[in-house]
């Protein structure tokens, strides 16, 4: 410091205060908040350091690769969301809260017809209206888009035809909302109405005017958008199994029901760059879609994610109204804001597919699941959206958690003239999961086995492969079942409660991040990237594109960085809003954010940590291996008095380059089979859950009341238990809505009758039972600090748990959701008639007589529990594939070991012979290009 040109900030340094505090004006850079309140550090809190690192934190599931980076800062502690203060003060800006100077209000003209050709549109009257600044129609935007590159079938506004009531026809930007609404009334559209289809089974037939034309890839002349066939295992033999459950389910369509309606603000800035503000789960897809729709390079577009008032999958497609706002803003030269009325939210939809699922579960004399045969026909509505994936998920996501002898799946998604279905929490897995779990209850009833025991005796172990080749790493399924069994008092309640009172169990299985990025080869680009930037103030700015939609992804990523660097959360700043500053991230869907984004963040933080530790090494002379990161201080492992403040080390690290930056990325390991569709359902890890629900059923009215639910979810490691519990309880709420009250109801003319929150029945606080969230931590070897997803999987088990509990209460099986009182009542009535009972209060109560199999399965469950623990603890990691339970050698290809073992994705005529199977009918059509080949 003696060089003449250098001047210490704050003047000379000889007037030192006696009380030890710094003299005002004498600090160098940003001491506040960077030095820690105790410069001398305590020894590390070894109770928070894992066993594997010499600490005392127990690790019942063994060590984890991130153990060396646990500093005890935030991981595993209940942490309020980092943006919660914006929300509770009303300062969080959602889509409609973005008010730019000089804004215009946009409104959309929508189709009044289910299906019609547009003959002409006359906008001249609207354009002439005072206060109208821009009018646009499909003529202004002819490029297609869609969330999946393989099925781009949407436009900003209708081109030649409208495909459902509410389809976009034109849009207007005006000085006020009133003027814009008025202008819509002055746009004159001539339609030629065509015959519309509403029943999904009609979509399987050839049509004169299919809703879309996929050119040479079109399937016959039908409205089949996607069809899937998968056959694995002993699919012939399973039909001879002694215990069989066959059911035909109807699931109503569902809406996400988020409280914030869609809204968007578009503004072309003075440099000609589009600034688009939107509450999006997946800003990157909007970014791509805008570029291709508007014919503007991506670098000329900045997508700004606002706060998102609930997504649940419903804000993950690029939307036509986002294109409309951009087009109107361009035409008018002013910012344009479009805010949906609640009804419009239902027109754009993308909710859960209405489905008809034929479910067959077979069990053999040893109490094993001989096979599952599923036929799922799903109603896609007017556009493809995520439907390609949904069609797979309806099948492949019930190949676990149980070991099965065979799996036969036919799935088809059809276009109908309804608002488009898409992805919704538990995407594609929810309905078929409900059907499987209820069928399992049914076979248990037949074989005289407690459904808890049956499940525990048929679970796949950790570190195995499923029948279709998914790589399972960690699983806490067994612990989930054990916990809910214990906590709910299952053994004292099952089949032992009076009429009208029942208990039921259900399990769930879900992906923790889709293994295949939609837009690129995972070998080529990573799934997620995070940049860290640490400046002279010592705080760390995290640049990420992960979209916080209320689930707390900003908090999770902040926690990950904070944990590795041992910094308090207030020193971590998340910048996740703008595509200009964020590295590309695929957004919040498929429960990928915690797993992928936090893994990327941890990698970045480790890189930053290395740089800072190397700087500390230079200062104090101890090798980074013997240094510990404490609260804003880096110190010698064995003598905490020796050390350097975080800030001093950071400044040292910055000295040469003036910067301290790091970047981390996550990509999935290679995995999965090679068959067509093998990538669907692949994930780097899977979550598991088991719920028990206790219900009260009023046999006289059909009303079901869930009294209490015990909800165990294996999320690997709860990074933030507060948020995990919130996700579990919230999932229960949404799942209970689907099983008991929610449905998008279409009238006899095909119109959606309840596009509002009064008649779309989301449960109120009164219907919500007490939920006991139980967190199970299976410590996933590849998850961030062992974590897996907790946002979607927790929804699955509540549906079958409630349906099974209804059976326990009144002895009737329902197979139509929602189980609204009128539906349940008519089932009860039928049962009464069948049994010759006049008063439903006289219905017999189902009872349970264990068969000899019960003891066998209890023993097997015990053996398997031991097996699973050995595999978890790395004491036994011999290979395990689905089939070992049936006597197969896991190290040889299964088809070689048994003649009847099939692995096929192309159906034979025999596979499609059953005329009652619906989705199978989709395979009777021949794809156009193949017909041409034939000719």
């Amino acid at each position: 410091m003696s060089k003449g040109y250098r001047q210490a900030p704050g003047g000379s340094s000889d007037k030192k205060r006696k009380d030890g505090k710094r003299t005002a004006g004498k600090q160098d850079f940003g001491v506040p908040g960077s030095g820690g309140s105790n410069p001398y550090s305590e020894l590390q809190d070894i109770e928070r350091i894992p066993n594997s690192q010499g600490g005392q934190l127990e690790q019942p599931r063994g060590p984890h690769v991130h153990d060396p980076h646990i500093t005890g800062q935030t991981i595993g502690k209940a942490t309020p969301l980092v943006d919660s203060r914006w929300k509770v003060t009303g300062q969080a800006e959602y889509g409609d809260d973005i008010r730019l100077p000089n804004e215009l209000v946009g409104r959309i003209l929508r189709s009044p017809h289910h299906y019609a050709r547009i003959v002409s549109i006359d906008t001249s009257e609207a354009e002439a209206l005072p206060g109208v600044r821009a009018v646009s129609t499909g003529m202004d935007s002819v490029n297609r888009f869609g969330v999946l590159p393989v099925t781009k079938d949407e436009h900003a506004m209708a081109q030649d035809k409208v495909r459902h009531v509410g389809d976009l026809v034109a849009c207007v930007a005006a000085e006020s909302e009133e003027i814009a609404i008025e202008a819509l009334n002055h746009i004159h559209v001539d339609y030629e109405v065509m015959e519309s289809i509403h029943d999904m089974e009609d979509g399987l037939l050839d049509s004169e005017n299919p809703i879309h034309d996929r050119g040479k890839y079109h399937i016959g002349e039908s409205n089949v958008q996607k069809r899937v066939f998968q056959q694995f295992g002993h699919t012939d033999a399973m039909h001879d199994a002694p215990f069989q459950s066959k059911s035909d389910w109807t699931f109503a369509g569902l809406h996400h029901g988020f409280t914030e309606p869609h809204a968007v603000v578009a503004h072309w800035d003075p440099n000609g760059r589009l600034q688009l503000y939107t509450p999006q789960q997946v800003p990157h897809y909007v970014h791509r879609a805008l570029s291709s729709v508007l014919d503007v390079p991506m670098h000329q577009i900045n997508v700004i994610r606002t706060f998102v008032g609930g997504g649940f999958g419903g804000k993950s497609d690029p939307f036509p109204h986002e294109m409309c706002a951009a087009i109107l803003a361009k035409k008018s030269g002013r910012p344009v804001r479009i805010n949906f009325d609640r009804e419009e939210v239902y027109w754009i939809n993308r909710g859960r597919h209405p489905s008809r699922i034929q479910m067959e579960v077979y069990a053999d004399e040893k109490g094993r699941i001989a096979g599952i045969e599923t036929d799922a026909l799903i109603d896609g509505g007017a556009f493809a959206s995520f439907g390609h994936v949904t069609t797979y998920y309806n099948g492949v996501l019930h190949t676990s958690p149980y070991e099965i002898g065979g799996f036969h799946y036919t799935g088809a998604r059809v276009w109908t003239n309804k608002p488009a279905s898409g992805a919704m929490r538990g995407h594609g897995a929810v309905n078929s999961r409900c059907a499987v779990e209820v069928a399992i209850d049914d076979v248990c009833e037949q074989m005289g086995v407690d459904p808890m025991t049956f499940r525990l005796a048929n679970l796949l172990p950790p570190h195995c492969r499923t029948i279709t080749g998914f790589r399972i790493t960690s699983t806490g399924m067994r612990e989930c079942l054990d916990e809910v069994r214990k906590q709910s008092g299952w053994d004292d309640k099952f089949r032992k409660m009076p009429l009208g009172r029942g208990i039921g169990v259900g399990c769930g299985f879900f992906i923790s991040g889709s293994g295949l990025p939609i837009h690129w080869d995972p070998e080529n680009f990573p799934h997620a990237t995070v940049h860290l930037q640490c400046d002279m103030d010592g705080g760390v700015t995290v640049h990420t594109g992960a979209a916080d939609i209320g689930q707390g992804s900003d908090t999770a990523v902040a926690q990950s960085v904070s944990e590795v660097l041992a910094l308090p959360l207030d020193m971590i700043r998340i910048r996740s809003r703008e595509s200009d500053t964020a590295p590309v991230d695929l957004g919040s869907y498929s429960s990928r954010v915690t797993f992928m984004n936090c893994n990327a963040a941890i990698r970045a933080a480790i890189e930053l940590r290395e740089k800072v530790l190397n700087a500390a090494w230079e200062i104090i002379g101890y090798h980074p291996d013997s240094l510990v990161l404490g609260d804003r201080r880096i110190y010698y492992k064995r003598d905490p008095a020796i050390g350097v403040s975080w800030l001093q080390a950071v400044h040292k690290a910055q000295a040469d380059t003036g910067s301290l930056i790091a970047s981390g990325a996550y990509r999935t390991p290679p995995m999965g089979g090679v068959h067509k569709g093998a990538a669907a359902g692949l994930a780097p890890a899977y979550s598991f859950s088991a719920y028990v629900a206790e219900v009260e059923v009023d046999p006289e009215t059909g009303f079901v009341r869930v009294i209490k639910a015990w909800a165990a979810h294996d999320c690997g490691k709860a990074l933030n238990p507060l948020a995990v519990e919130g996700q579990i309880i919230g999932s229960c709420h949404m799942g209970m809505g689907q099983v008991l009250s929610e449905e998008m109801r279409y009238g006899r003319t095909g119109h959606l009758l309840n596009p509002d929150l009064l008649d779309y029945k989301i449960m109120s606080v009164h219907e919500m039972p007490e939920v006991v969230p139980i967190i199970v931590e299976s410590n996933d070897p590849e998850g961030p600090f062992g974590a897996k997803e907790a946002g979607e999987g927790p929804l699955l088990p509540i549906l079958p748990a409630v349906v099974n509990a209804i059976y326990d209460a009144v002895g009737v099986r329902v197979n139509e959701l929602p189980v609204s009182p009128d539906r349940l009542y008519s089932t009860i009535e039928k049962q009464c008639r069948k049994m010759g009972i006049k008063d439903p209060l006289d219905l017999p109560n189902p009872s349970f007589e264990p068969s000899a199999l019960q003891a066998d399965l209890e023993n097997r469950a015990k053996e398997h529990a031991h097996r699973d623990l050995q595999r978890d603890l790395l004491k036994d990691r011999s290979s395990y594939v689905n089939g070992v339970l049936f006597g197969f050698d896991p190290d040889r290809p299964l088809p070689e070991q048994s003649e009847g073992w099939r692995e096929s994705v192309t159906p034979t005529p025999e596979d499609l012979a059953d005329p009652k199977k619906r989705a199978a009918r989709a395979w009777s059509h021949v794809e156009r290009r193949k017909r041409r080949d034939d000719a």
Binding site: G33, N38, V88, T89, G643, I729
Partner: protein, 199 residues
């Protein structure tokens, strides 16, 4: 085919002066005779914390307090509350000190996506104002008109109970503008080096 109808949206009568106290400050805004309170608050007063969820009285996102009583601003005519005292979510905190209900919603998971939160907060604040130790049933009755899609209500009920506890103990929410860590930490400016280190 029936004859099309057309309900004209323009023109309307000229706007008139509308006056009310919002969060303690007097506002005079131009509004239409038929203006809805929610629109005036969002578009004119600028309290964008008042949310438009369903716009039909179901979701409760738009709830505000009028003279201390919770009201659905989406189903209230602006001129019907002229001259009254309106409190929105922005008016709950005392400067940077959060109202206990705000603090507890943040700390106990009462808010996930946050969109319904402003409505829940004003309704709960009004409840705790009258009844600082409400039973669970009273809490449920108070929030039965608010719809939350994220939380399943459980953590909201907990948050309200915790806020009641804070209020009863005379606590206020913290003020984050206070430095979270000691800005002038005691101790040496220089690194503490190992004994005998030459540097």
């Amino acid at each position: 085919m029936s004859a099309p109808i057309h309900i004209p949206m323009v023109p309307s009568d000229p706007m008139e002066a509308w006056t009310a106290r919002v969060n303690g400050a007097q506002f005079t805004e131009l509004a239409h005779s038929h203006s809805i309170l929610l629109d005036v608050l969002r578009d004119h007063v600028g309290t964008l914390g008042v949310k438009r969820g369903c716009d039909m009285g179901t979701c409760g996102c738009c709830a505000v307090l009028v003279d201390g009583e919770p009201v659905l601003s989406c189903l209230t005519l602006a001129f019907e509350v002229e001259g009254k005292e309106i409190t929105t979510v922005e008016g709950l905190a005392d400067g940077h000190h959060l109202h206990p209900i705000q603090q507890c919603f943040a700390d106990h998971g009462g808010s996930q996506c946050g969109f319904c939160t402003p409505g829940f907060l004003v309704v709960s604040a009004a409840l705790l104002d009258k009844e600082p130790d409400p039973s669970e049933a009273a809490i449920k009755e108070a929030i039965e008109g608010n719809l939350c899609r994220c939380t399943g209500y459980q953590q909201i009920v907990t948050s309200i109970q915790e806020a009641g506890e804070m209020l009863r103990n005379g606590l206020t929410g913290d003020d984050r503008t206070e430095a979270a860590s000691d800005p002038h930490p005691v101790g040496p400016d220089e690194p503490t080096l190992p004994p005998g280190d030459a540097r």
